[in-house]
């Protein structure tokens, strides 16, 4: 549709002129971002769409999504002042290349893949470092996942083994199905899925058969735990709790053929003899095979699940939603789009940054969260308007610190190595009246309050009484809203004109300029509270921090 329009309008123009007119380079075909928009438009039909987000809204969204924080007041002013045409694209490129990208997306993927469980032999810190290093370069999603599945603890990829957790074969089977194939097969452990016809018990056990030889073994000299594979000689047997029929399967992907288990002459099964406490290495290693089979280009379950989850991280809902229910009864909102994204992701070698960039360049991503004129409700799955996403606990902490101008202070905190360990439970019950001694401790407090329980997928934002109580009454929030050299309240209290104060406060907290009435409202409150002006500034900032506009990425 768009292409036809181009042909008509620009048909006779040389390509470099078109490029100038449209503000982006044209190659032989349209960029993926245009095709995303075409499909979303086509699906919606002739109905109103929200406008493109304004510059401030776009900046806040992109900064949160790529760097995990709100922009500084200075960044907002600068972006609003920038009149260049390509500034949105440049911003996306700059942030994807920036320092915070790797840190933030390490958090996002880590929460998605580990669900805040800290299990297994790899310390959390090493896993984080590993992901960060990968994400700093040119991360390829299939390679990352392959490393995690085939991890044996050897070499520089050792931290990837954290994904496999405690090497519980059933947990591994369920996690791989759910997180990497979009299939919650938990029910299919004991019988065919009761309501999803195409999910069979054999699918569960086929995956299981790839994994059930994996175990931990300690290297005697290094005193390190590795993941090894035992000899897979036979198929896995299972029976349905309904009819008790005995069945068996070898390793098999839900959409693939069963892998034949090679049979060797006795004495020929191993590639390498046992040594240093590690058992002999079999020639046939099903988990290694799974790493390859699952991440293969041909595996559509994997590519579709991958793009669905990345789309979700940017758009707040999956094209197929819930994320782990990708089956015939739960059709994607935009089947063609899902197919397109999956195909393009594969043909671009699972280049993560490329995919993120293309989605973010789309009009669909850049749409406002304000409803189109005259419309009171829009189905979120139509993408005619952007759905607000809740901030993650980590984003929220960083945003509160930045908004209140306390980032530097919090980062500079040094834990006294002699001091007693901070009593976090006491912090919540009131028996500990200290403030957290470090940024890490503050983060733990925010995660405990705003995160989902460990082991549960962090997918939907759910407001809660305890969350609201925290933002209203927590000592940290109160502390950050007291004037301290250079923080927001300190800066505001040294200003004279209420207009300037309103502007500074809105830029810092809500990343936009105040509207006229809002500036008046601020001035009013300050005038009424003249004798306690600094405290009144704290009240106002408190109100903005507690607003839905602050809590959501919109």
């Amino acid at each position: 549709m768009l292409k036809n329009l181009f042909d008509i309008l620009l048909g006779n123009m040389p390509w470099f002129a078109m490029s100038l007119v449209l503000g982006f380079p044209l190659s032989g075909e349209q960029g993926l971002h245009n095709r995303i928009d075409d499909l979303v438009w086509a699906k919606a039909g002739d109905v109103p769409f929200a406008e493109t987000a304004d510059d401030a809204g776009f900046l806040r969204r992109v900064t949160l999504d790529l760097s995990g924080n709100i922009p500084t007041a200075g960044e907002v002013s600068e972006f609003l002042a920038d009149k260049s045409k390509g500034k949105r694209k440049e911003l996306i490129d700059r942030l994807i290349a920036g320092d915070q990208f790797a840190a933030h997306w390490t958090e996002r993927f880590s929460v998605m893949l580990l669900e805040r469980l800290d299990q297994g032999k790899v310390p959390k810190g090493e896993w984080v470092k590993f992901l960060k290093q990968t994400l700093r370069k040119k991360p390829l999603w299939d390679v990352m996942i392959r490393q995690m599945i085939e991890a044996n603890g050897q070499g520089v990829d050792r931290p990837a083994m954290k994904f496999l957790g405690t090497v519980d074969h059933h947990a591994m089977t369920e996690n791989i199905a759910r997180l990497l194939l979009g299939m919650d097969l938990t029910c299919a452990k004991c019988h065919d899925h009761p309501s999803v016809n195409e999910w069979k018990q054999a699918h569960y056990w086929g995956l299981f058969a790839y994994l059930n030889q994996t175990k931990q073994a300690t290297h005697k000299k290094e005193e390190k735990v590795y993941l090894v594979e035992g000899l897979a000689g036979k198929k896995v047997e299972f029976e349905s709790v309904f009819d008790l029929e005995k069945m068996s399967t070898g390793p098999r992907l839900p959409n693939g053929a069963e892998v034949e288990i090679p049979q060797f002459e006795k004495g020929e099964e191993y590639e390498k003899p046992a040594e240093d406490g590690l058992p002999a290495v079999p020639k046939f290693r099903p988990r290694e095979r799974l790493a390859k089979d699952l991440t293969a280009k041909e595996n559509e379950l994997f590519s579709r699940n991958s793009v669905n989850r990345i789309w979700f991280l940017l758009m707040g809902r999956g094209l197929s939603h819930p994320l782990d229910q990708m089956h015939g009864k739960n059709s994607p909102s935009h089947p063609k789009l899902l197919e397109l994204l999956a195909g393009e992701f594969v043909s671009h070698g699972f280049d993560l940054k490329w995919l993120l960039r293309e989605i973010m360049l789309s009009e669909t991503y850049q749409r406002s969260s304000r409803l189109p004129e005259g419309v009171t409700k829009v189905e979120p799955a139509s993408y005619r308007v952007t759905s607000p996403k809740g901030l993650t606990p980590e984003q929220l902490l960083r945003a509160v610190l930045r908004a209140t101008g306390n980032t530097k202070h919090a980062k500079a905190l040094k834990v006294d190595p002699e001091a007693e360990k901070f009593d976090r439970k006491g912090y919540f019950t009131g028996s500990n009246v200290e403030l957290p001694p470090s940024l890490a401790e503050m983060e733990a407090i925010f995660i405990q309050t705003f995160g989902r329980p460990p082991g549960e997928a962090e997918v939907d934002f759910s407001p809660g009484v305890n969350k609201s109580l925290f933002l209203m009454n927590d000592r940290l929030i109160e502390h950050w809203l007291k004037p301290r050299a250079g923080n927001l309240i300190d800066r505001l209290s040294k200003m004279d004109a209420p207009d300037a104060m309103a502007k500074e406060m809105y830029l810092a907290v809500l990343s936009r300029l105040p509207e006229k009435e809002e500036a008046i409202w601020i001035a009013d409150y300050l005038a009424r509270n003249e004798p306690r002006r600094t405290a009144a500034l704290g009240d106002l900032a408190w109100a903005l921090l507690n607003s839905a506009e602050f809590m959501f990425n919109h």
Partner: protein
């Protein structure tokens, strides 16, 4: 408001049946007193002083002719006619690690999911009794907070608001220096700040967020229900100054305020060694507040709508071990229930002469859950949870309510 309600109830015959049912359901509440580990049935509900397994304590007469309790239950013995005791629990699992979840989840048939604990189940199935109060509060020694684990596969919001050592979460209090006036002013600012954002957006997300603030403020406004400072010193004496006494008294306060489900935990009921000295110390700590609670609820006219259950993970072995202790015994043991839909004075259960085994079939926790749900007006066989497209029974399909103790 209460006047209106009284008026409605007065014209009972004019009331639409479904509204009548709602009012009735609204009033149903639960207090679960959980003795973590196992109280010895011989040193409590089923003394059998003549049996070869008896300990050193005497049995005493109760308010029901012919029924005896251990002398360690003097207060409860006086109100035996207000409660039911099941002496033939046969619950299969003797392990701590699995005992607590099995007993508190009611052991539904395995569907490969984590079932909610009883409090979360009731919170889900009946909702809050008072809209501004959390439906499930858990009073326990040690730490508190919001314990979502209890909710199992249900949404985390059905978890327990836990009062560690009886104290509410600290964030229910305004920071020092924020007066009620300032608090109201700040809240008005917050609502004002929301206006512009709310005006042009799909309302559901913003509204849910706003609702959580409304709830939070209502809870803050009623934080006195968590405050045990104002409790009558005479009541404190009656319930006992030990943690279980204080916590059961606090439970009464929460039930009176309208909390749907209150769980009170007491720990260390695990008398593998020195069972008799420990029982002599522990059992009266359960006896005193249990009897006081039943009496108070009865005096206030609340007992007929409030279910009180006092139970453990299992009972204790008939055989006294070499350390003068009793070990875990799930095969035949006792629990007490009272109130809401439960008979008064039904002390039931046929056991072998020495109390070691059930004569015939005993009752498992599945039966108990059917009983609890039934007296709360929940159709325990028909009502289902929905989880990931699966319909899941709320109680073990193979069990039935225990009719012998039900009205």
């Amino acid at each position: 408001m209460l006047g209106n309600l009284g008026g409605l109830v007065g014209f009972g015959s004019l009331l639409h049946p479904s509204i009548a049912k709602q009012i009735e359901e609204k009033q149903k509440q639960v207090c679960l007193i959980w003795l973590d580990g196992g109280i010895s049935q011989y040193e409590s509900w089923h003394p059998l002083p003549e049996s070869k397994f008896a300990g050193p304590f005497r049995s005493i007469k109760t308010s029901i002719p012919g029924i005896h309790f251990s002398e360690l239950l003097p207060n409860t013995a006086k109100i035996a006619h207000k409660i039911s005791v099941i002496r033939t629990m046969a619950t299969k699992d003797p392990n701590h690690s699995t005992g607590v979840p099995r007993m508190q989840r009611g052991d539904p048939l395995d569907r490969g999911v984590d079932y909610p604990y009883l409090g979360s189940a009731v919170a889900k199935l009946l909702g809050p009794a008072e809209p501004e109060l959390p439906p499930y509060v858990w009073i326990k020694p040690g730490n508190g907070g919001f314990i979502h684990r209890e909710a199992g596969f249900l949404d985390a919001r059905y978890g327990a608001l836990a009062l560690g050592d009886g104290r509410p979460p600290v964030h229910i209090h305004r920071p020092d220096g924020v007066t009620a006036e300032l608090d109201a002013a700040r809240n008005a600012l917050r609502q004002k700040a929301n206006e512009r954002f709310r005006a042009y957006r799909n309302t559901s997300d913003v509204d849910a967020y706003e609702t959580s603030y409304d709830m939070a403020r209502k809870l803050m406004a009623r934080k006195e229900i968590f405050d045990d400072e104002k409790l009558d010193p005479k009541d404190r004496e009656r319930y006992g100054l030990h943690p279980l006494g204080r916590h059961v008294l606090q439970a009464r306060q929460l039930l009176e305020a309208g909390v749907r489900f209150v769980k009170v935990n007491s720990y260390h009921w695990d008398t593998h060694g020195d069972n008799f000295n420990m029982s002599q110390r522990l059992v009266p700590q359960a006896d005193q507040p249990f009897a006081a609670l039943i009496n108070d609820l009865d005096d206030r006219g609340m007992l007929d709508n409030t279910l009180v259950v006092m139970m453990s993970e299992f009972g204790r072995t008939p055989l006294i071990n070499s350390r003068l202790g009793r070990d875990h015994w799930p095969d035949c043991w006792s629990i007490a229930l009272a109130g809401c839909g439960i008979k008064r004075g039904a002390i039931i259960g046929d056991t072998t002469k020495d109390g070691a085994f059930v004569n015939g079939e005993g009752y498992d926790v599945g039966h108990l859950f059917h009983t609890i749900f039934s007296v709360l007006g929940i159709q325990s066989h028909r009502q289902k949870y929905r989880h990931k497209g699966q319909k899941l029974s709320i109680a073990n399909d193979d069990c039935e309510p225990i009719k012998e103790v039900m009205l």
